[in-house]
Structures are given as C-alpha cells and as structure tokens.
C-alpha cells in the first residue's frame, strides 16, 4: 500500500460520517490525487469496478488511471483544476469526463472534488467523488457488455434495432425488427423511412412524425407507442425508443437510432381494461352513479367522472380525503359520514346514507353515498363505493310534505267544497266551502246519507266509477253531479273524488272536491237543447228554429229568430208574446189559430205572414209548424221561421208592376212596341200607331226595318246586333221613321232586351218618342246659330277688308290732295269709315270671347284683381272725389280668364265713377260672398242708378246707353255680360234711379 493509498483511506475514515450519509450506493467512486505527481492517484474499489477492473487484482497497480481518461478530456480536468484554484468557493471542481472501460468502451463520469493544502498552504491534494452519468441517463444501470454480449442481450429480449438517416431517408434494421412484423430484413430492402411509415397504422402516424420532429428540434430521447402492420395483416403494437446518434458536418442531427419492442400483449390487455372501464363509466354515467375510492396505503383518492360531476368539479380535479368531506354539508350530515368512515376503517362494513352536499358551485343537493371497506391481513386497505345524485327524488318527497301543509290551509280556506270521506262512505270532515254549498253544517253533514241528497239519475250514472275509486280500481274520478241542497234546490257540481293512500299504499280515506257549476250547467243545458234541435233538421240555411215547451207554454228561439225579432239572447216568450209579433188582424189570428190547433190536434202548418220586429221592421215571414203527436198528445212542437220579405215583396211588387206596365203600355203618350228577335212588331200601343199612322193590326205585319228610314237602318242594325251579342243591355237613339203617308218622323228611340231568368232573350221593348217637332226646332236653331256665327265671321273678316281699303284710300287721297280734307263729303266719308272700323272691332271682340274662354280659364284671386283695378283708376277716382271700399274675402278665388276679369272689374269701376250722382260724394263698395257654386262680387255705388223698368231688358244690349254721358258707348256692359257668361257666370243688377246701382257678378268658385 502506497503512502497515498494510506492517506486516502485515512481521508475516507475521517470523512466517514459524510460518506455514510451519502451512501456508497449513490456514489460510483472516490478518488484522490497527488497534485505534485498527477499520475499518482488512488481510486476506491467501487470506482475501479466501474471501470472494469477487479478490486482485488493487482493489475490496477500497474494501470495509470489517468490513461483511462479520454485524453481530450484531460484538458478539461486541468482547466477545471486551474479555475478551481483561483477561487475554490466560486468555482467548485466539477467536470464531466469520459473514461475508458477495461473492455474498451467509454463511460461518462462526473468528477466533483476539492483541493486540500499542505502545512505551508500550497495545493497538495485533489480529491472527490465520481458519479456515472450514463446510469442516470436512462434510469437503468448499464452493464458493461462486450459487443457480443450486447448482441446476445438484444436478441434475448427480442429488441429490434434500427437507425435512419434523416437527410437521405436511408434506414437500417436488424432481423428482430423485421421479424416483429413478419418480414426478413432482405424482404424489407431497400428499407427507407418511407417504407417504414407505410407500415405504420394511419391513426398513429401523426403522433410518430410529431415525436421525431420534436426529437430533431430538441434532441434527447423520444419514446412512442404505435401500431405497425404485420405481414399477415394484423396490427402489432410497438414500443419505440430512439435518439439522435450522429450529426453531420454542420452539427445538425443526421442519424436517428433506436429500438423497437413488441408490446402487443400488454397493449391488448390495456385496451381491454380501458374498454371495460369505459363501459362501467358509461353505465354509471347513465344511472348518474359515480364511483369513488380511497386507497389508504397510498393515501390517494379517486373520483370517477360522474362523481366529479355530482360535486360540480372539473375533470382534472384531484380529490383528497379531507377535501371530499368538506363538500358534505356541515353539521349532522358531515358528522355522520365521518363517524361511519372511522367505523369502516376499524372493521369491514358497508354503509348507505342519504346526505346533503354543497357542490363546488354552491348548489346544495341530496346524494346517496354507498361505502365499503376492504381489508387485507386485518388492515383496512381501501374504502370504496358509489355516489348518486338523488336530489330530484329527495326534493319530491320534501315537497310532498310541504304540500300537505298547503293542503291543510287550502282545505280550510278554499271556496271549493272539500270533504274527507271515510272508507265506509261517511263524511269525516268538511270545509266551510262545502258546508256553504250544501247549506248544512258540518255536524249535519256528518250524519247525512249522501244517497239521499244525490240526484238519482246522476247516482246511477256514476256509481260504478265512484265504486271503483272506493275499491281502489282507479285513483280518482271526476264527474258532474247534482245534489239537493238543504233548501231543496238543485246544485250542479263538478266533483272530484280521489283516494288518499298511506305509505304502505292502503287507502285511508277519500277527498271529495266539489265545484258549484250550477250556472254553467244551466247554460250548457240550453246549448245542448238547441244543438239537439238543430241536429233534427238538415242544415237549412238562414232559417230560424223554434220549439214550444208545451208544459211551460214558452217558446225557445234559435239565434236566427232572436236576431230577426230583435230581442235579447235569453228571450223566452210565452205563446201570447209570440202572437204579438205577428201583424194585428188576419195575420195574428191565423198564427194563433194554427198554434192552438197544432197543440190540440197535432196539425202542422205553413204560413206566410207579416211580422214586426222590436226594431219596428215589418217583414214577410214563413212560419212552419211541426208536431210530434203521440197517443193524442202533442209531445213535441217545433218549427221553422224564415224571413221571406224580399221574395214576398218582390213578388207582390211584380204583380203591381205588371198591371202598371199594362196600363202604361196601353195609354202611354210614348209609342211602345214589343218586337220579336227578328224585329217583327208583335204588339204596339195606341201612341205607336198614332205616330206611324198604321193600325195595330197593320203593324203586326211589319218589321222594325219596314218603318225605319233607309238611311238609319244600318246604325239601328249595328246597335241591335250589339244588344244580341250582350255587349249592351239597351240603347238610345235618335232616328227617323217613315210614316204610313211617307212623311219622315224623327224619334227618340230606346230599345231594351227582355230576358228570362236564365238570361235568354225573349223579346225587345221599344219606346218611341216623336220628336219631329222638336227636331225641326233644334235643326232650325242650330242652323240659325251657325248662320249667326258665319255672319259674325263675315262681318269681322270679309267686311273688314273692305273697310280697311276705304280707310286706306281715304288716307291716300288725303296725301295726294291735302285740301280734300275740307270737303264736307270727304269729312263725312271719313267719319263713316272710322265708325265702321269700330263696329267691326267690337263685333270681332264678341265673336272671340266664346272661342277664347275654354283654353284660358285659370284660378284668379278676386281680392288681388280688385285691388289692381282700383289702383289703375286711382287718379280718376281722385278727380271725381270717389271713395272706394273693398270688403273682399282674401280666400275667394274664381275660375276666370284673367283679361276678362280685369276688363269686367274695370268696366264696373269706370261705370260707377262715370255715372256718379252730381254733387253727392261718390261711393263705391266691393263685397264678395259665396252662393252655391258661385262666388259673387258686388259692386255697389250711390250714383245715378238705372230705370230698370224702362231699360231692364236692354241693359246689356249692344250700343245701349241710358245716360247722356259723352263717353257712353253702349259696349261695356254688353261685353262684360258676354265675358261673364262665357266663363260660366252671370250678372244680376239691382238699381234705383238717383240712389245707386249694385251689379252682382257671379263667377265659378274655385273649390267647385
């Protein structure tokens, strides 16, 4: 043993408490170096063993251990030492080196150490511990195998080995790798990553690719489980582990290597387990049953998905014993469970409790907690059980309790009658409502036999069903039922009897709930009654039905009759009342007699009679009575009532009209004839024969066309064909006939087709009015008028060319010989010429008025126009000392030709000024107003006035003057009147000599 060795052992001994604490297990070796002679070092046995040398053998003496360190790594050691020397505290000696195992491979070893100093303070020794890094790397202690041994091992545990080039995609695998999936290595050649991926289960591929990508990015080791397709087609589960084992020149990962391990068996079991677990979960989930487990040895708690749901915690919630208990509502609930659990841990037991928990959401709910304890070797190892949400169930039960209280309250205060009936059909208890309904006290009711107060009909009808309730065949029964009250009156009820059971399901008593529906029932009854009646007849539209209640002597009317009679809905008249609706006299007598006979002898009837409704409407009706007469007794008496006023009146009117028509036809002043469809005159009246000069008999041999003027035949034919083509119903025409004596007769003819009910043509009726006289007159008038117009035109146009020539010639003559002006003849001719020109001008104006109007009528504001006119005569008014007052409504607009209105206003104004009363202050007042469709404008003055008796008819004539005024020309009023009339208005005058005149002009009001 060298000195250093002794020194080393002494150090270990000294430091033994430390090393013991560390445990030799943790450390892979200790070392001790002489710094003066670095090759001189001491290692402990463990370190030597690690490096593959026998601790006892001598060979270690001969081995320079420094030579075992990778020579490149020696530099690291020296650098670390130097670094450590400068500041031992800040830079501890801590270095990773590779040491060569005796068998040739390298081990990664971490050396940690410290310097010790000699007496004079020089660095003397470096010592420390060694930890094998590879061991920590994969967690399993690597054994130093020879290559062969390694291969043996690999083959022994069936490890598939592979490696692949990331860049090129080339891959290598061993036999085992290939066998695992049923191939030989040769079969897989050339093996590439692509071939490999093609064998991977599609569902697992993504995960695999991701792990390898991750490996390339982050290096380290990856582990992944996936499926590969066996040559035979089934899937093989592979556990794969791999890492980057080589890098390219740039230092990027290049080669990935690893191993495959067949884990199919394990995986299949795992899968099955998962499947069963899942199945259990699912079934529990369906039942809302959660599973819980407390492993007392591991002190871990497991809650299934449903359990977590019940507690409203998230899926990833990690439960603990204390935590679980905290969910239970504090107090009695929690204490009970704690006690039970303590008990269960002591001895095997089962418990089943209903408790309230407060879930993590703060919801308080009822759960059922089932627990079991499992023992092994007298020790409780596990508590497990189920938990179920029973909140809904529990709540229902609680509510039942609440209901009972509510029910008690209801019972006492309900307006509905309620009573408890014993199983022996005795009334046990009745509420005030019930008592009130029957009119008995509770005590009286308790002694009462209900059969006595039951309506026998209803009892028979319902007894079976009620009995079923009593015998328990049905839980309840609802029925309409009549009882007699204490006062003897009938009460209609809607009753509900239900059985009350105890917890064992036995009937303890019955509850009878009674609702008074008397009123409703009565309504229902009458409805039923009416519906029944209606059913008896076959849908007769618009016909009312009535039925007499013979015993009561009243009649029931259907809504139709009620409406017709104009009475209230619930009107039930007595027979006397019924009679009163019929018209007094024969009508009323008839109905009365018929009804009495019907009841007495069963005779039906059918009458058309007049009736009067309460609204005063008198109408014709048809009343039909039907009886069911059995054994000489009228059992039933009913019938119909129909408003046939329209038909009756129409029929009666028709009869009258026919008579009227006949009379009219015969004696009318108008000629009338009936033509068949060919135009043959079938019948002619007296006037017709008079018009045409033929006798009735002669007429019958003629057709319509024989008597028509040849020139009018065509248009008559056209109209008739239109009539027959139904384009029109009738026509009116002015046409000519030929009188028997050959004279032309002008007539207004209206012809209409007469059709039967089916719309077929029967004949024509022609009315002929002789208008020969009138026609003559009109013709004359029109001609006259035309002549006048022509005359006016001739005057204004043709005559004018002559007068203009005369005046031109006069001008020329005057030019040629200026002295001619002095000639008396010439002077007079000149005057005549001028007058003639004026006259023609006036005439033209009149002619033009009517033609101009229609195109230029506009809405004119009266006030505006009056103001304008007044303004234009301002100076004239001033000179003549005339005051003008305007009282015209500003909203009065008239339809007028603006120029005419202007001229009319001016004309009246100047007239009023012109013909003022000398020496009197002249006043003119304008007022307006509305009369019918007109706005009138009144211009009133206090001037000379006009003697209307004398001049009235001539007032508006042409060239009429009534005063000796120098400017009076007799044109103004004439033109004004023409203008006003052309605009659809009129002028009215009121006047009194020496007092004044009022011209009222009526013009069409804009609003009309």
């Amino acid at each position: 043993m060298s000195g250093l060795q002794q020194e080393f052992e002494a150090w270990i001994k000294n430091e033994s408490p430390f090393f013991n604490l560390m445990g030799q297990d943790v450390l892979d070796g200790l070392w001790y170096w002489d710094l003066n002679q670095p090759s001189n070092g001491v290692l402990n046995d463990k370190f030597w063993n690690l490096l593959g040398y026998d601790s006892s053998s001598l060979d270690r003496e001969t081995v320079d251990w420094l030579s075992l360190i990778d020579q490149q790594n020696l530099q690291l050691i020296i650098a670390a030492y130097n670094n450590h020397l400068t500041n031992p505290k800040q830079h501890p000696f801590n270095v990773e080196v590779r040491c060569r195992h005796r068998k040739g491979y390298l081990l990664a070893i971490n050396l940690k150490g410290a310097i010790s100093y000699d007496e004079i303070g020089n660095p003397h020794r470096l010592m420390g511990v060694a930890i094998q890094l590879d061991k920590n790397f994969d967690g399993t202690k690597q054994f130093p195998f020879t290559k062969e041994q390694y291969i043996d091992v690999i083959e022994g545990i069936k490890l598939g080995i592979w490696s692949g080039n990331i860049n090129t995609g080339e891959a290598y695998c061993n036999d085992i790798w290939a066998e695992m999936i049923g191939y030989t290595v040769a079969e897989l050649q050339p093996l590439t990553t692509e071939v490999f991926y093609s064998l991977v289960h599609p569902e697992d591929k993504e995960q695999l690719v991701l792990s390898i990508d991750n490996l390339i990015k982050n290096e380290g080791i990856y582990e992944v489980e996936f499926r590969m397709r066996h040559k035979k087609g089934h899937w093989v589960w592979i556990f794969c582990r791999g890492e980057i084992t080589a890098h390219d020149d740039q230092g990027n990962p290049e080669i990935v290597s690893g191993m495959h391990y067949d884990i199919t068996d394990k995986k299949v079991n795992e899968q099955l387990l998962l499947k069963y677990k899942d199945l259990l979960e699912r079934s529990n989930e369906a039942a809302k049953i959660g599973h819980w487990e407390i492993d007392l040895q591991k002190e871990s708690v497991f809650w299934s998905k449903v359990t977590k749901e019940i507690y409203d915690v998230s899926r990833d919630f990690i439960p603990a014993i204390e935590l679980g208990l905290q969910f239970i509502v504090e107090g009695e609930n929690r204490d009970r469970i704690v006690r039970l659990m303590e008990k269960a841990v002591q001895s095997p037991m089962e418990f089943k409790e209903q408790i309230q928990i407060k879930s993590s959401n703060g919801v308080v709910k009822w759960i059922r907690l089932i627990g079991l304890s499992q023992f092994r070797n007298g020790q409780c190892t596990r508590l497990y059980g189920l938990v179920q949400d029973v909140d809904d169930i529990e709540n229902v039960q609680l509510q039942v309790k609440l209901r009972e209280e509510e029910f008690r309250q209801t019972f006492n205060h309900s307006a509905m009658g309620m009573a408890f009936i014993s199983v022996t059909n005795q009334l046990l208890q009745a509420n005030p409502g019930f008592c009130k309904m029957f009119g008995y006290t509770e005590a009286e009711l308790q002694k009462l036999d209900f059969l006595e107060v039951s309506h026998s009909e209803d009892f028979e009808l319902n007894k079976e069903a009620i009995n079923d309730v009593f015998t328990g065949k049905r839980p309840y029964f609802r029925y309409d039922y009549r009882y007699s009250k204490k006062d003897g009156s009938i009460i209609w009820t809607n009753s509900l009897i239900s059985a009350i059971h105890n917890e064992e399901g036995e009937i303890i008593h019955f509850v009878l709930q009674v609702l008074d529906i008397t009123k409703r029932k009565l309504n229902e009854l009458s409805l039923q009654y009416k519906a029944d009646l209606i059913r008896r007849i076959n849908d007769v539209a618009n016909i009312g039905i009535w039925e007499v209640d013979i015993a009561a002597g009243t009649s029931h009317w259907s809504p139709m009759i009620i409406e017709m009679a104009g009475v209230a809905e619930d009107y039930t008249p007595t027979l006397e009342d019924v009679y009163s609706f019929f018209k007094e006299g024969e009508h009323r007598k008839t109905i009365k007699r018929s009804i009495e006979l019907a009841i007495a002898e069963g005779k039906g009837f059918n009458h058309v009679l007049q009736v009067r409704s309460t609204t005063g409407r008198v109408f014709w009706s048809r009343t039909i009575g039907i009886t069911d007469f059995v054994d000489g007794e009228c059992k039933r008496f009913y019938g119909f009532f129909q408003d046939i006023d329209k038909e009756t009146v129409a029929a009666k009117e028709l009869a009258i009209k026919e008579e009227e028509l006949r009379l009219t036809f015969e004696h009318a002043h108008t000629g009338m004839c009936i033509l068949d469809l060919e135009g043959k005159l079938q019948k002619s009246n007296i006037s017709m024969t008079a018009i045409l000069g033929y006798s009735e008999e002669e007429m019958r041999n003629l057709t319509f066309f024989d008597i028509t003027h040849p020139e009018d035949i065509e248009k008559t034919e056209i109209l008739m064909s239109e009539l027959l083509a139904r384009k029109r119903d009738s026509y009116k025409l002015e046409k000519r006939y030929i009188h028997k004596n050959g004279d032309v007769i002008w007539a207004n003819v209206s012809l209409s087709a007469v059709k039967n009910e089916k719309g077929e043509f029967l004949h024509f009726v022609s009315q002929v009015e002789d208008i020969s006289d009138k026609k003559q007159l009109t013709d004359n008038l029109t001609e006259h008028n035309n002549r006048l117009v022509n005359f006016a035109h001739i005057v204004s146009h043709n005559l004018r060319s002559h007068t203009s020539n005369i005046s031109m010639l006069l001008d020329l003559a005057q030019d040629d010989d200026s002295e001619i002006v002095e000639n008396e003849y010439f002077k007079n001719i000149r005057t005549v010429s001028d007058n003639m020109n004026d006259t023609i001008c006036h005439l033209n104006e009149i002619v033009e008025i009517n033609s101009k109007v229609s195109t230029t009528l506009t809405s004119q504001n009266l006030l505006e126009n009056v103001r304008k006119a007044v303004k234009s005569v301002e100076s004239l008014a001033k000179q003549s000392d005339t005051t003008i007052e305007i009282n015209i409504n500003k909203d009065h607009n008239v339809i007028a030709v603006h120029a005419y209105l202007e001229s009319i206003l001016l004309n009246f104004l100047t007239n009023a000024i012109k013909y003022r009363y000398p020496g009197r202050k002249n006043q003119v007042v304008f007022t307006s107003g509305i009369e019918g469709n007109y706005v009138y404008l009144s211009v009133k003055d206090n001037g000379l006035g006009i003697d209307l008796k004398r001049y009235g008819t001539k007032l508006f004539g042409m060239y009429k003057t009534f005063h000796n005024h120098p400017d009076a020309r007799g044109m103004g009023l004439f033109i004004s009147k023409n203008q006003v009339e052309a605009m659809g208005g009129k002028i009215v005058v009121e006047s009194e000599v020496n007092k004044g005149t009022n011209f009222k002009t009526y013009l069409r009001y804009e609003n009309n």
Partner: protein, 133 residues
C-alpha cells in the same frame, strides 16, 4: 342702313295692291314692286330665281284664290334661300287665332293688320333700319 330694292306683294285685292303700291312709293320705301295675285304665281316666280334676285320684302295676304297665304307659307318654308327675305303677313283679319298661327312660321317676320297706313310704314322703316330712297 340697308336699302330695299325689291318688294313683293302677294294679294288678290286690286284696291289694296293699288293703295299699297302708292303708299310704298310715296314714302320712299323701295324702288321696285312686283305683284302676284295668288301664292302659286309668286312661288313659281321666286323659286326659279338666283338668290340675289330674291325680293327683299314680301307682303303676303292670307285669303286668296288658287294658293292662299297659308299654303304659300308652307311651300316657302321649304325653300332653302328664304332666310334673307323679310316676310310680312298682311291681313284684314284681326282674329287672334290667325295672328298666332302666322307667328308660328319661322319665315314670318311680323303680322300687319290691314290697311297699311303711312304710320305703319314709318314704324316699319324705323324697325328695320331701312334707308329711305
């Protein structure tokens, strides 16, 4: 100022023509006056001429035999060389509708009510800026 060389009167009324001719010459309105008694004769004569020989002014009557004034206006409107000519409708009609109608023709310069008087000629001379002869 422009001078009026040629005036054309289209009228069937000899008295009017006589008077007008006198009136025009007396008032130094123009030197040459041609007269046609209906529209057709006038149109026939005018339409054959060179533009330079067109009358400067036409006085047109409306009521004439053969071709009346309206027809003449229709035809004359179709002639391309009409623009320089000043056409006056001279009529004894004072029917406002006729006046309006006459004014709808582009070729009509104005409507003059008969008779043509000394005053009217004076107005015309001023209006047209005609140099008196």
């Amino acid at each position: 100022m422009k001078t009026i060389k040629q005036v054309c009167i289209i009228d069937d009324d000899p008295i009017f023509v006589f008077g007008t001719k006198r009136m025009l010459t007396k008032n130094n309105f123009c030197s040459n006056i041609e007269v046609y008694t209906n529209g057709e004769d006038a149109l026939e004569s005018i339409s054959l001429r060179e533009e330079s020989n067109f009358p400067d002014i036409i006085f047109l009557d409306l009521n004439m035999p053969v071709m009346d004034g309206w027809e003449f206006l229709d035809e004359f409107s179709k002639l391309s060389k009409k623009s320089k000519v000043l056409l006056f409708v001279l009529s004894s009609s004072i029917d406002s509708q006729e006046v309006q109608r006459a004014k709808t023709y582009d070729v009509v310069y104005d409507f003059i009510e008969k008779p043509l008087t000394k005053d009217k000629i004076g107005v015309l001379i001023n209006k047209l800026g005609i140099e008196e002869l």
